[in-house]
C-alpha cells in the first residue's frame, strides 16, 4: 500500500523526471526493436533478390551414358521443383558465314539444343535482339564475328562429321552465359570457365538431327543438362535458404546415384547473399548499437539528474524511520514502473517504426527470432531502468549518510577512469586496431566461395567503438579541465552574456563541473552519433548511386548491339529534351588482344564527365582527371585492365597491337595503340578486362564513326526521360534504354544490395529525436533540479536577465562544447567506418559525403530545443518559486 502511495505521489509530483526516464527507456527499446525489424526485412529482401536474380536455379548435368529420360523423372519428382527441361550441348569445331563477298570463320563454339517452351519457362535466359524468336538463333557476339544477320546461312563444323548448314532466324543475347556454360561439378574455388565466344541455339529437333549421332561416339563432344526452376518459397534468412537449397541439391544427387550432377546457381547466389547478410549484421553493429547505447546513456543521465532530489527524499525517509530495505523497495517499484512502461511503449514504437520504415511489424526474420528479439529488447528496457534507477538508489540508501545526502556539488576526486587516463588509452587502442585493419586491406568479411562457414573480423569494429567511447570520455576530460582551469577564459567569454556576473556564473559552473561535463559528454555522444550516422548514410547513398551509374552508365543510357550504332540524329534530339543536361556518345566495339576478345569503349575523354560520373577509383595509378588527360593527350592512347598489363607485360607508353573490325571489309585488322594507364571500372563496362580509348581514333582507323551507346545526364526524372528517349528511338532500333532508378532497384553489388533507405530514415529520425531530447531534456531537467538555487537567487533580487545568464552560459557551454567535440569525433568515426567498410563499396568513395541539409536542420532543431528549454527555465525562474521560498 505504501509503495502504491509512493508511486502515485511520484506520478503526481515528479511527472517530468519520470516521463524523461520512461522516454529514455522507450527510445532504447524502440531502437533495438526497430533494428530487429530492419534485420528481418533486409535479410528477407536479400534472399528474395538473390532468388530473383537467378533464372535457372539448377543445371543438372546428365552423366555420360545415363538415361536422360529417367534422370528427368527423378528431377521432376524432387521436392520444390517447379519446372525442368532438357537442354543439349554440343561443341562445334568452328563456324563460318559468307556475307558481302567475304567469308568469316570463327574458332570453336557451342551449339545448344533447346526444347520448345524454354524461353517461357526461363524468362531472361535469352534476350531477343533482332529477327525471329524461334528457329536458329545466333549469339550477338557470334553474329558480329560472322557478320551474320537474320537470313544468313552459317556453317557449323562438327567433330568427325561433315558440317551442317543452317539459316539464322534471329540474333540474341545470353545474359546468363556464365552460368549457362559453367563446368558443372568443378570443385569450389576453381577458376571460372569463360563462356564461349561463339554460340548457336537450335531447336531441340534440329539439334538432334545435327548432333544426336555424336552421342554414340566415344569421347563425344555432347552432353545433356536439365535446367530446373525451383519454388520461390525460401527461408527468409539467406544463410538458412542457402543451407536448404544446398541440402536439396545434394539429396537429388544421392537420388540420381551418379547419373547426374547439380550445378547449383541458386545456392551460389545465396552464398553471396549470406555474406551480405553478415554485412547487414555489421551495419546493425555500427549504426544501431551506438544509438541504443546513447539512448541508454541519456536515460542514465535523466535518472542521475534527479539524484540530488532522491538523496534528499531518502534522507527524509530515513529521518522518519524508514529502513534502507524499505527505501530500496520503493526505488525498485519506481524502476519497475519505468522499465515496464518504457519497454511496452518502446516495442509499440518499434512495431510502428518498422511498419513505416521497412513495411514489417515483426522483429526478426522468423517467428522464433521475432519473439526472442522482442523479448530481448523489452528486457533490455527493464534492465536499463533497474540499472539507472534502482542501483544508484540502493547504493545511496546503504552507503550515504544523511549529511552526505545534502551534498549537491561535492569536491570529490575525478572518476577512476579519468585518473587512469582510460580515454587516451582507448583512443590509442582504436588507432592501433585501425592501423592493423588498414594493413590487412580492411578485410572484414571472409567468405570463401562454396565454403559453408563465413567469418567476420569483429575485432576490426573495435576501432570505431573504441574511438567513439574514447572521444566521448575525452570530451568529458576537456570540459572538466576547461571548467577547472579555464575559469578566467570562460569568464571573459561569458562577459557579453552575463556582464558583471560573468565571474559568479563561471564560478558556479566550475563547481558544478562534474554535472556539466556529464551533460557535455552526452551532447558530444549524441552529436557524434548523429553526424557519423548521417555522413555514413550519405556516403552510402552516394556510392550506391555511383554503383548504379557504373552499371547503367549514366542517368539514362541507350545502347545498341547493331554495328551501325545508334542513329546519329538521336544525340541532338535527346539533348533538346527538357531536363536533359548533357549527352555523350560512346562507342562499344570489340578488340582482340592476342586471342582474347575484349570490349572496347571509345570516348571523348575531354567531355565524357559531363554526362557520367568518372570516379578516381575507376583508375589505378592516378586520379580520373590525370588519366583522362593522358588519354586525351595522345590520339592512339588506350587504357587497359590490370590483368592485361600483367598478361602482356605492358609498360606505360608501350605499344600494344589490337585487332579491330574495319567497316570496309568487316574483317579484323591490326591497329596500333599506346598504353597510358590502367582502368579498373568504367560506365557500362563489364567486370572483367576491357579497353578505353579515344572514339575519334577508332572512327579514323576502322572507318566507322558509329556510336553504340548514349550516356545522358538529366536533371529531371530519369524514368520519364528514358521513356522519351525510347519514343525517339522507336521500337525498330533494337536499342535498349535503361534509367538509373530502375537500375538501382535491380542490380547493385555487395553491401549496396541492402536497402538502407529504411534504416537511414529510422536512424536519422532517432538521431534527431535523441539530439533534441539530449539537448532540451538535460538542460531542462538540470535546471529544474536547481529550482531552489534559482528561487534563492531571485529572492535575493536577481533580474530576469541575470537569471538568464546562469541558464544560457550553462546551455552554451554544454551544447556548443558538446556539439563541436561531437562533430569532430563524428567525422572521425565516419572516416573510420567508411574505411573499414571499403570492401563493400564498389568503387570505394573518393571522400566522405556530408549531408549539409540534414545537419543544418538538425542543428536548427537542436538550437530551437535548447532555446525553448532555456526560455522555459528562465521564465519559470523569473518569479521566485514560492513553494521553495516558503521552506527557507
Amino acid at each position: 500500500m505504501f509503495v502504491l502511495t509512493w508511486l502515485t505521489g511520484l506520478l503526481r509530483t515528479r511527472t517530468l523526471r519520470l516521463a524523461g526516464t520512461v522516454i529514455g527507456v522507450t527510445m532504447t527499446v524502440a531502437l533495438l526493436g526497430s533494428l530487429g525489424a530492419f534485420f528481418a526485412a533486409s535479410k528477407a529482401q536479400m534472399t528474395r533478390q538473390a532468388a530473383a536474380g537467378i533464372v535457372v536455379d539448377w543445371q543438372v548435368q546428365v552423366a555420360p551414358g545415363a538415361d536422360v529420360g529417367s534422370v528427368g523423372r527423378v528431377i521432376a519428382s524432387a521436392p520444390g521443383v517447379l519446372r525442368s527441361l532438357p537442354v543439349s550441348y554440343a561443341s562445334a569445331t568452328g563456324l563460318s558465314a559468307t556475307a558481302g563477298g567475304t567469308t568469316q570463320t570463327t574458332g570453336a563454339g557451342e551449339v545448344l539444343g533447346l526444347p520448345a517452351g524454354y524461353s517461357a519457362a526461363f524468362p531472361g535466359e535469352i534476350r531477343y535482339l533482332t529477327g525471329a524468336r524461334t528457329g536458329v538463333l545466333l549469339a550477338q557476339q557470334t553474329a558480329a564475328n560472322l557478320h551474320a544477320s537474320p537470313g544468313t546461312t552459317i556453317v557449323i563444323g562438327r567433330p568427325g562429321l561433315p558440317p551442317v548448314h543452317v539459316v539464322v532466324r534471329g540474333i540474341v543475347d545470353l545474359p546468363a552465359a556464365d552460368s549457362m556454360f559453367q563446368a558443372v561439378g568443378s570443385p569450389p574455388g576453381s577458376s571460372l570457365q569463360a563462356p564461349p565466344d561463339n554460340v548457336v541455339l537450335l531447336p531441340q529437333a534440329l539439334w538432334q538431327q545435327s548432333f544426336g549421332l555424336l552421342g554414340a561416339k566415344p569421347l563425344a563432344a555432347v552432353h545433356s543438362q536439365y535446367h530446373v526452376k525451383l519454388s520461390s518459397a525460401l527461408a527468409p534468412d539467406p544463410a538458412t535458404a542457402y543451407a536448404d537449397v544446398t541440402g536439396r541439391a545434394k539429396n537429388l544427387e544421392v537420388k540420381l546415384a551418379g547419373a547426374g550432377l547439380v550445378g547449383n546457381n541458386l545456392a551460389a547466389q545465396l552464398d553471396a547473399a549470406r555474406k551480405d547478410a553478415l554485412y547487414a549484421q555489421l551495419l546493425f553493429l555500427f549504426l544501431g548499437i551506438p544509438g541504443a547505447v546513447l539512448a541508454a546513456a541519456l536515460t542514465a543521465m535523466i535518472a542521475a539528474s534527479g539524484g540530488e532530489r532522491r538523496r534528499r527524499e531518502q534522507a527524509l525517509l530515513r529521518i522518519r524511520g524508514a529502513t534502507p530495505r524499505q527505501i530500496v523497495r520503493l526505488a525498485a517499484a519506481e524502476a519497475l514502473l519505468v522499465g515496464i512502461l518504457g519497454a511496452g511503449l518502446g516495442l509499440l514504437g518499434a512495431a510502428l517504426a518498422g511498419r513505416l520504415a521497412f513495411g514489417v511489424t515483426r522483429f526478426g526474420a522468423t517467428t522464433g527470432q521475432a519473439i526472442v528479439w522482442g523479448l530481448l529488447a523489452g528486457l533490455t528496457g527493464v534492465v536499463l531502468a533497474v540499472v539507472t534507477e534502482l542501483v544508484p538508489a540502493a547504493r545511496d540508501a546503504r552507503k550515504i549518510s544523511v549529511r552526505q545526502a545534502r551534498e549537491v556539488v561535492g569536491r570529490g576526486r575525478s572518476p577512476l577512469w579519468a585518473r587512469l587516463y582510460v580515454d587516451l588509452w582507448l583512443l590509442a587502442a582504436a588507432g592501433v586496431v585501425f592501423w592493423r585493419s588498414a594493413q590487412s586491406g580492411y578485410q572484414v568479411v571472409l567468405a570463401p566461395e562454396g565454403v559453408a562457414t563465413i567469418s567476420v573480423s569483429y575485432s576490426t569494429f573495435l576501432a570505431p567503438l573504441l574511438l567513439w567511447i574514447g572521444a566521448a570520455l575525452l570530451s568529458w576530460r576537456l570540459a572538466h579541465a576547461a571548467l577547472d582551469r579555464g575559469r578566467e577564459v570562460l569568464a571573459k567569454a561569458f562577459t557579453p552574456l552575463a556582464g558583471g556576473l560573468a565571474g559568479v556564473v563561471t564560478a558556479s559552473m566550475s563547481r558544478q563541473r562534474r554535472l556539466l561535463s556529464r551533460g557535455l559528454l552526452i551532447m558530444a555522444l549524441t552529436a557524434s552519433f548523429a553526424v557519423s550516422t548521417a555522413i555514413f548514410n550519405q556516403t552510402y547513398a552516394a556510392q550506391s548511386r555511383v554503383d548504379a551509374q557504373l552499371t547503367n552508365g549514366s542517368d539514362v543510357t541507350a545502347a545498341t548491339t547493331a554495328e551501325s550504332g545508334l542513329p546519329p540524329r538521336i544525340f541532338p534530339a535527346v539533348k533538346s529534351i527538357p531536363g536533359v543536361q548533357a549527352v555523350q556518345p560512346m562507342m562499344h566495339r570489340f578488340a582482340y588482344v592476342g586471342n582474347d576478345l575484349q570490349d572496347m569503349f571509345g570516348i571523348n575523354p575531354r567531355t565524357i564527365q559531363s554526362a557520367t560520373a568518372v570516379s578516381d577509383a575507376f583508375f589505378q595509378g592516378g586520379n580520373a582527371r590525370s588519366v583522362l588527360a593522358a588519354l586525351a593527350a595522345r590520339p592512339d592512347a588506350v587504357l587497359v585492365s590490370d590483368e592485361t598489363v600483367r598478361d602482356y607485360q605492358l609498360a606505360p607508353g608501350g605499344l600494344i597491337r589490337l585487332r579491330l573490325q574495319f567497316a570496309g571489309d568487316h574483317a579484323y585488322h591490326v591497329v596500333p595503340f599506346h598504353y597510358v594507364g590502367i582502368v579498373r571500372e568504367f560506365p557500362t563496362a563489364p567486370r572483367d578486362s576491357f579497353f578505353v580509348t579515344n572514339a575519334a581514333y577508332i572512327a579514323r582507323m576502322t572507318g566507322s564513326p558509329a556510336y553504340q551507346v548514349m550516356l545522358t545526364k538529366v536533371s529531371g526524372s530519369p524514368p520519364a526521360i528514358a521513356a522519351q528517349v525510347r519514343h525517339l528511338l522507336g521500337p525498330a532500333s533494337g536499342a535498349v534504354v535503361q534509367d538509373i532508378h530502375s537500375q538501382l532497384k535491380i542490380t547493385l553489388s555487395g553491401l549496396t544490395t541492402i536497402d538502407l533507405s529504411g534504416l537511414t530514415r529510422l536512424e536519422l529520425t532517432f538521431a534527431f529525436i535523441l539530439a533534441v531530447a539530449a539537448s532540451s531534456l538535460i538542460l531542462l531537467l538540470g535546471l529544474i533540479e536547481r529550482r531552489r538555487m534559482f528561487a534563492i537567487t531571485s529572492a535575493l533580487g536577481a533580474k530576469t536577465r541575470q537569471l538568464g545568464s546562469f541558464v544560457w552560459a550553462e546551455a552554451l557551454f554544454v551544447t556548443v562544447g558538446g556539439v563541436v567535440l561531437g562533430i569532430a569525433s563524428g567525422w572521425g568515426l565516419s572516416y573510420v567506418i567508411v574505411k573499414i567498410l571499403t570492401g563493400v563499396f564498389d568503387p570505394p568513395p573518393p571522400h566522405l559525403f556530408i549531408p549539409w541539409v540534414y545537419l543544418a536542420s538538425l542543428a536548427a532543431v537542436t538550437a530551437g530545443a535548447i532555446v525553448w528549454a532555456g526560455v522555459g527555465a528562465v521564465r519559470s525562474a523569473r518569479k521566485p518559486a514560492m513553494d521553495i521560498i516558503r521552506d527557507l
Binding site: V408, V409, R411, S508, R511, G797, P880, M882, D887, L888
Partner: protein, 242 residues
C-alpha cells in the same frame, strides 16, 4: 522628516481557502526595529515575503514610498535573511555573501570592499573559501545574515535569524545586527519565537490567528504604534499597490 519605508492596508494572503494573513494594516518607517512574533504557521514568514516584495498579497495594498516600485527593492534596498540554509551550493561563502553586490551591478572592488569587513566581523574568514555543504548550520546562518547586510539595505527582514545558533553566538550576532541598523538607520523586522530576542527590539508586532496586531501586547516599554496612527503620521493615503 522620517521616511515611510513600507505602508500597507488590508493585506490578505490566502492559499486556496486557507488565509495566512488577514486584513493586515501597518507602516514601517526608517529606523524602526520590530519584533514579529507569533506561533508557527501564523503567517509571519508570509508577511515578511510580501514586505520584501518577493510575494504578492491576495488582496489589499502595499507600497514602499521611500524605496520605490516593488521590482527595484532587492537587492539594494530590501534584504532578507532566511531561517533555513539558503546559500547557493556552487558558490563559496565569500561569493555567496558578495552575490547581492554583484546582482546590484557592483564589480570586484565593490564586492571585496563590502564583504571584507562583514566576513571579518562575523568570524567567517576561515570558511570564506568553503562551499555551503562544507560548513555548519550556524556558520551558514551567519553567512546568510552577512549576505543580507552586504548592500547596506534600508529595510532588513530577518526570519528566525538565530534559530540555528547557540545563545552566545546568537547574542553576538544580534548585537552586530543592532549596531549595523543603528549605524545605517535601516529598519529591521525580525520574525522570532525567541522572547529574549524579541524583547531587545523596541517595537513588537504579533500574528495571532493570522491577524497582525501592531499594538503593544506586553508590558515591555516599547514604542508601539497602531497601523492607523502610523498611517496618519505618514500623512497620505496609500496609493500604490504591489
Amino acid at each position: 522628516m522620517t521616511d515611510v519605508l513600507v505602508r500597507a492596508r488590508g493585506l490578505t494572503k490566502a492559499f486556496g481557502q486557507v488565509a495566512a494573513i488577514a486584513d493586515a494594516t501597518f507602516t514601517v518607517i526608517e529606523g524602526d526595529q520590530i519584533a514579529l512574533v507569533g506561533p508557527s504557521g501564523s503567517g509571519k514568514s508570509s508577511l515578511l515575503h510580501i514586505i520584501a516584495g518577493i510575494d504578492q498579497p491576495t488582496d489589499g495594498i502595499i507600497e514602499w514610498p521611500a524605496l520605490g516600485p516593488a521590482d527595484t527593492l532587492r537587492p539594494a534596498q530590501v534584504a532578507v535573511a532566511f531561517q533555513a540554509p539558503s546559500l547557493l551550493p556552487p558558490l563559496t561563502v565569500a561569493e555567496n555573501i558578495a552575490l547581492p553586490v554583484r546582482l546590484a551591478g557592483g564589480g570586484d572592488k565593490a564586492a571585496a570592499a563590502a564583504t571584507g569587513p562583514l566576513i571579518e566581523r562575523l568570524g567567517l574568514s576561515d570558511i570564506a573559501a568553503k562551499l555551503p555543504e562544507e560548513i555548519s548550520g550556524g556558520q551558514a546562518q551567519r553567512a546568510g545574515i552577512a549576505r543580507a547586510l552586504v548592500t547596506a539595505p534600508r529595510l532588513i527582514l530577518a526570519d528566525e535569524p538565530t534559530g540555528q545558533l547557540d545563545s552566545a553566538t546568537a547574542a553576538d550576532l544580534m548585537d552586530f545586527l543592532f549596531e549595523h541598523v543603528d549605524l545605517t538607520y535601516a529598519a529591521l523586522i525580525v520574525a522570532t519565537h525567541d522572547v529574549g530576542l524579541a524583547g531587545r527590539l523596541p517595537l513588537r508586532w504579533q500574528m495571532l490567528d493570522h491577524r497582525l496586531q501592531t499594538e503593544a501586547f506586553t508590558g515591555v516599554p516599547a514604542v508601539t504604534r497602531t497601523g492607523a496612527e502610523t498611517a496618519a503620521q505618514a500623512g497620505a493615503e496609500p496609493t500604490c499597490s504591489s
